[in-house]
Amino acid sequence: MVRFDDVGLRYAGPSGLGPQGPAPEVLRDVSFTLPQGSFHWLLGPSGAGKSSLLGLMHLALRPSRGEVEVLGQRLSQLRRGALPALRRRIGVVYQDFRLLPHLTVFDNVALPMRVAGRGEAQLRADVAEMLRWTGLAEKAGALPATLSGGEQQRVALARAVVMRPALLVADEPTGNLDGVQARRVLALLREMHRLGTTVVVATHAEALVAEHPAPALRMDEGRLVAHG
């Protein structure tokens, strides 16, 4: 479950100020609840605050005001030391992939499991399964720079789901992909949803949304303008 209650966010510089006085709020008065196991689109024009909202959801950002509750934990009541354990239960597909260039596809996908301290023998099977699921088994030893955009996107997806997260957050997962590749990635996301994961997908691709009707959060200029 994800719950936002009257959330505001400003990106503060080191001084807490932007170039002209206090930094503006990029999210304002955002309130919504996503039930456990739901699938939601996150829509809105560029700069509306979609990535910022997802950043709060996967604990890469802390709200400037209001309460964020993720997987039953209220952020305001968590010590900083308790966040890593919670982050490991959340899978993220980043808008810019964030694959590590010096690691192979296998090691990139294995990264969350190694961070969580899983044994090599155990993670080998899980990573191999994810690579098969995303159609990357042949590419296990390749470096990210040698992959196509669609392949990199699927590596990012495999890394996001290898830990079987309870919450999966995807930021423009079909952004640079042609129709075929985009549908393939979306099918994988829907399958995670069928398996019980709460899924949130930010996108501009209205055609894709039309093909897969689901509840949507619609943002504009930092505000939630529609929900449902």
Binding site: R62, L100, P112, G141
Partner: protein
């Protein structure tokens, strides 16, 4: 094209997978160990210097229990001449204590020259402890000679005391140099680690976002820095050993032994081996702690 890369895969996987931050390149095994080796060499020299100065101090102090002595002929033991001399010396403000050296100790001191049972009758020796080291021992010796008619004044102990003071300050300087070297080493490690953080900023941020703890990330840097600094310190210490053996050989006459005729006969046993063995361990610990502190401080800016 595909074949060689596939062949290389298992090795790549094994070597890189456990190093997700790429620290083997970000904290390279060239510059940091070389700098640390140079500093460990300095530290070993300072360490040996401090110990050598301590040994000289101990040895010279034992040999110069008294700053000055006054000798009287054996005949002075009778007729109250010794008592008068003692009284005159005690009355001088520069003299803190005047004591007759007892016969057993004098025999022990003279044994190397005179053998077990000296046939000659020994002079009486009055040892003087001075209130403070005189600026001019000769002037004081003259005044003491005037106070004790027929006495022979010996003031070489004053010079020994001065040497002891010099050796003590050398010891302090060497220890200060040691502390300074450790401080510079910590600063060098901190700079190297900060450069490593800057080079791997996005990988660190990703690991953090995937749920890595500060302890995990700092631990990776700490291990790497500890290994590099420990290795560098070991190299520097090994380089220092022959240099120190040479110095120990030069110092041998000051400590009452002979310079070595051959390499094997160098005074190897006199090197401070225990302290030298500690240097690489202390270096590794310093690298580990410095990296931990630097990385943890940096990580605090992440949510």
């Amino acid at each position: 094209m595909a074949e060689p890369s596939r062949l290389a895969t298992p090795r790549l996987r094994r070597s890189r997978g456990r190093d997700p931050l790429g620290l083997r390149r970000a904290l390279s095994d060239r510059l940091l160990p070389a700098l640390v080796a140079a500093m460990a060499l300095l530290a070993a020299l300072a360490l040996a210097g401090a110990r050598g100065a301590a040994e000289l101090t101990a040895r010279w102090e034992a040999g110069a229990a008294a700053a000055m002595t006054v000798q009287l002929p054996p005949s002075a033991a009778t007729g109250g001449r010794l008592e008068r001399a003692l009284a005159a010396l005690d009355a001088m403000p520069e003299v803190a204590e005047a004591r007759v050296m007892d016969g057993a100790r004098m025999q022990a001191l003279l044994r190397p020259w005179l053998g077990e049972a000296p046939a000659v009758s020994l002079p009486l020796v009055i040892e003087l402890r001075l209130a403070e080291l005189p600026a001019s021992p000769e002037v004081l010796a003259g005044r003491i000679g005037a106070a004790v008619p027929g006495g022979t004044v010996e003031s070489h102990g004053v010079w020994v005391a001065r040497l002891v003071a010099l050796a003590r300050s050398l010891q302090a300087v060497a220890l200060a140099a040691l502390v300074l070297v450790a401080g510079i080493a910590a600063a060098v490690v901190a700079v190297a680690v900060r450069a490593g953080i800057a080079a791997r900023r996005s990988a660190i941020a990703l690991l953090h976002d995937l749920g890595a703890t500060d302890a995990d990330i700092a631990g990776r840097f700490g291990q790497r820095a500890g290994l590099l600094v420990g290795t560098g310190a070991l190299l520097g210490t090994l380089l220092a050993v022959p240099v120190l053996a040479g110095f120990a050989d030069l110092a041998a006459p000051l400590l009452g032994s002979q310079p070595a005729p051959s390499l094997a006969a160098l005074p190897w046993a006199s090197l401070p081996w225990a302290e030298l063995a500690l240097l690489p361990l202390l270096g590794a610990a310093l690298g580990w702690v410095t990296a931990q502190v630097t990385v943890r401080r940096w990580l605090r800016r992440l949510p």
